[in-house]
């Protein structure tokens, strides 16, 4: 752990922002305030943040249907994100996209994506742009998405073209209601990725430090010109697949146990306070800061400008 105090505070701030963003969305959705399909990222914060804390705006990431965490970790404006999810024309995507397609290409965030497996090939393309610049391109995928043909094609192509692409597999053990052990026929997605000809490692997806160290290893490998790599993160999602999912596929008491024993925010707090890297009060201060931010995001979103019918045909083309 060679992270500075600032870096640790930043990591915690990011993880906490994601958590509160998602917790708050969960509540607002239950109130019927938000339309559409929303997939919450809570529980997996150490993954997004452990990955993105290595990156700057010239590095690229592409996300999934469960994209809020990746967006926040990559620096998207939290208030504008919230406005987007509320469908305001002030939203990051002017209300056209909602939860499932939030993007901010100026920050190297190439979009959440509603099509499972669609991101990996696009990340390969960003890897073509990144090649030789010292930057990298990251494809986030789930344990379900790793079985999609597009993901496999992307892995092989990245190897063939020796691109600085990192396939981050967030294994939260479920794709919708299906267990990972059912849908991934291989011994593991990491064994399978390795056989594609790339460096493939695993890390503990509920421990920020494990993710961060693992990422350092694969980023170094990529930057040295070795081609792509993959990292599988063992993690947990705290809410249903989508909001409204009764989660009957969970084991008895499973969610309570996860929240108790496998909460990446608790794990982080315990680690940094026990190691005396930060004090509880430091973190509490950030909690307050983040609470204020999320409160503001929701409050502003509720009164933000609504789009009008004449916006429908805007932005289909640049010129037509």
């Amino acid at each position: 752990m060679q992270l500075s105090r600032e870096a640790l505070l930043q990591a915690y701030r990011q993880m906490k922002t994601i958590r509160m963003f998602e917790d708050r969305l969960h509540d607002e959705i239950a109130l019927g305030e938000i339309a559409g399909f929303t997939h919450l990222y809570a529980g997996q914060e150490a993954c997004a943040v452990g990955v993105c804390e290595h990156l700057d705006a010239q590095d690229f990431i592409i996300s999934t249907h469960r994209g809020h965490g990746h967006c926040i970790a990559k620096g998207c404006d939290v208030v504008d994100m919230m406005k987007e999810i509320y469908g305001s024309s002030e939203g990051l995507c002017k209300g056209k996209s909602g939860s499932m397609h939030i993007a901010d290409v100026t920050r190297g965030m190439l979009g959440a994506n509603g099509i499972v497996g669609a991101g990996a090939p696009i990340a390969v393309g960003a890897g073509i742009t990144a090649k030789g610049t010292g930057n990298v391109s990251i494809a986030f995928s789930g344990d379900g998405a790793c079985n999609q043909g597009t993901t496999f094609e992307a892995m092989n192509m990245a190897v063939v073209l020796k691109l600085p692409v990192i396939f981050v597999f967030e294994n939260n053990h479920y794709s919708e209601h299906t267990g990972e052990s059912y849908a991934v026929g291989a011994e593991s997605m990491t064994v399978r990725a390795a056989a594609f000809g790339m460096k493939a490692i695993k890390a503990n997806g509920i421990d920020f430090f494990s993710v961060y160290e693992g990422m350092r290893e694969v980023i170094d490998y990529c930057k040295a010109g070795n081609g792509p790599a993959s990292i599988e993160l063992d993690t947990e999602r705290f809410f249903g697949h989508f909001e409204g999912d009764p989660q009957r596929y969970r084991g008895k008491g499973e969610l309570d146990r996860l929240r108790e024993e496998r909460d990446c925010l608790k794990v982080f707090r315990t680690k940094v306070t026990e190691a005396k890297l930060l004090e509880g009060a430091d973190l509490d201060r950030l909690d307050d800061e983040v609470t204020a931010l999320i409160d503001r995001a929701v409050a502003e979103s509720k009164t933000a400008t609504r789009p009008t019918a004449d916006h429908v045909l805007e932005d289909v083309y640049i010129s037509y």
């Binding site: 339309a35 559409g36 399909f37 469908g87 305001s88 024309s89 209300g95 056209k96 996209s97 909602g98 939860s99 499932m100 397609h101 994506n113 509603g114 099509i115 499972v116 497996g117 669609a118 379900g144 998405a145 079985n147 999609q148 043909g149 597009t150 479920y174 794709s175 919708e176 209601h177 299906t178 267990g179 990972e180 052990s181 059912y182 849908a183 991934v184 026929g185 989660q247 009957r248 596929y249 969970r250 084991g251 008895k252 499973e254 609504r306 789009p307 009008t308 019918a309 916006h311 429908v312 045909l313 289909v316």
Partner: protein, 336 residues
């Protein structure tokens, strides 16, 4: 009275009981495979397959990884070799990741193989807007599949039709794309008991009238019905046809109606270009030209993706008001 989602489940159940060769494949259609809660913890995210796994087992109700090309391919291969497979693609929007299997394989087998084989597959695809599900989960794909020779395409709008058309689809020896509008799953209706089949290519007359012909499918039928009721009050009689299947198409019913009314409105949920709406328009412009007394009006989505925000999606979709306005326009047309 039964909800359409339950009609679908029950019809599949009846057909599986009737014929051992009927099998089903899709993502999460069992639900809970390989999970602590265990199989059938769920029964399909649309609630269209609850209980079927328990009844028919893993060899007939097959939960799959997220691999749509392999789902269609597997259903196709099974159907070529003796099964009747029902494949579920969770959202019609996902046709993009499995289109080759549908278009170049399933649709063409019989033709390419010289008419010496059959592939009795049903591909079920929930489709349509109205749920604020944003650009990648709201699309209508009926034009794309109607354009493909070798496929039959079904778009039921009522509970009874859902039963009759789905049973027909499963027993049909040709490949069938069965499009279920997501917004209709919760709609209830009377459903005939027992064996009930509706042959393809026969439109349903929803309202009768002599002033304007209105053609619609799926969720658009209800919109058109509302518009027709409003127009009736204003003294405009609408001949509303629910086409039920887009391929085969009930050309006769359409041409007969337009020959009577001389005016045609087409209501279609998808964007306008190269669409099912243009298909119907072209049919009439070629074959009932001399009866036409006004321009053919199309009420469709605009040439844009389906936007997310409520206001935008509402503006995107056809509506009873837009249909009424188009009818009034057609009625007031005078050849200049």
């Amino acid at each position: 009275m039964k909800m359409i989602r339950d009609v679908i489940r029950d019809t599949i159940d009846e057909e599986m009981a009737r014929d051992d060769s009927v099998i089903m494949l899709g993502e999460d259609i069992v639900g809970g495979m390989g999970s602590p809660g265990g199989p059938e913890a769920i029964g399909g995210i649309w609630g269209t397959s609850g209980g079927l796994w328990a009844k028919y087992g893993s060899d007939r109700v097959i939960d799959t990884p997220i691999s749509e090309s392999a789902i269609i391919g597997a259903a196709a291969g099974a159907s070529l070799t003796g099964k009747r497979a029902i494949a579920e693609i969770m959202f019609a929007d996902f046709i993009g990741v499995c289109m080759d299997q549908i278009w170049n394989q399933v649709a063409k087998f019989r033709y390419m193989f010289g008419g010496k084989t059959k592939c009795p597959i049903v591909i079920r695809m929930p489709y349509g807007a109205g749920y604020n599900a944003a650009p990648q989960h709201s699309q209508s794909i009926h034009a794309m599949v109607t354009a493909m020779p070798g496929l039959k395409v079904v778009m039921p709008s009522t509970a009874a039709d859902t039963k009759g058309l789905l049973a027909q689809a499963i027993r049909d020896d040709d490949p069938v794309i069965f499009l279920e509008h997501k917004a209709l799953y919760g709609v209830k209706g009377e459903v005939p008991d027992g064996d009930y089949l509706i042959p393809f290519g026969h439109a349903r007359q929803v309202t009768q009238g002599d002033d304007v012909t209105i053609l619609a499918t799926g969720m658009m039928v209800g919109f058109a019905e509302k518009a027709a009721a409003q127009l009736a009050q204003d003294g405009i009689g609408c001949d509303l046809l629910d086409l039920r299947t887009t391929s085969p198409l009930d050309e006769e019913a359409i041409l007969d109606s337009v020959e009577r009314t001389g005016r045609l409105l087409i209501v279609d949920e998808s964007p306008p270009r190269c669409s099912f709406a243009t298909d119907l328009s072209a049919l009439v412009a070629q074959k009932a030209f001399s009866s036409l007394r006004a321009p053919i009006e199309m009420i469709t989505g605009p040439h844009s993706p389906v936007p997310f925000a409520r206001e935008l999606e509402t503006a995107y979709l056809p509506s009873p008001e837009k249909i009424v306005a188009a009818a009034v326009k057609a009625m007031s047309y005078r050849r200049g």
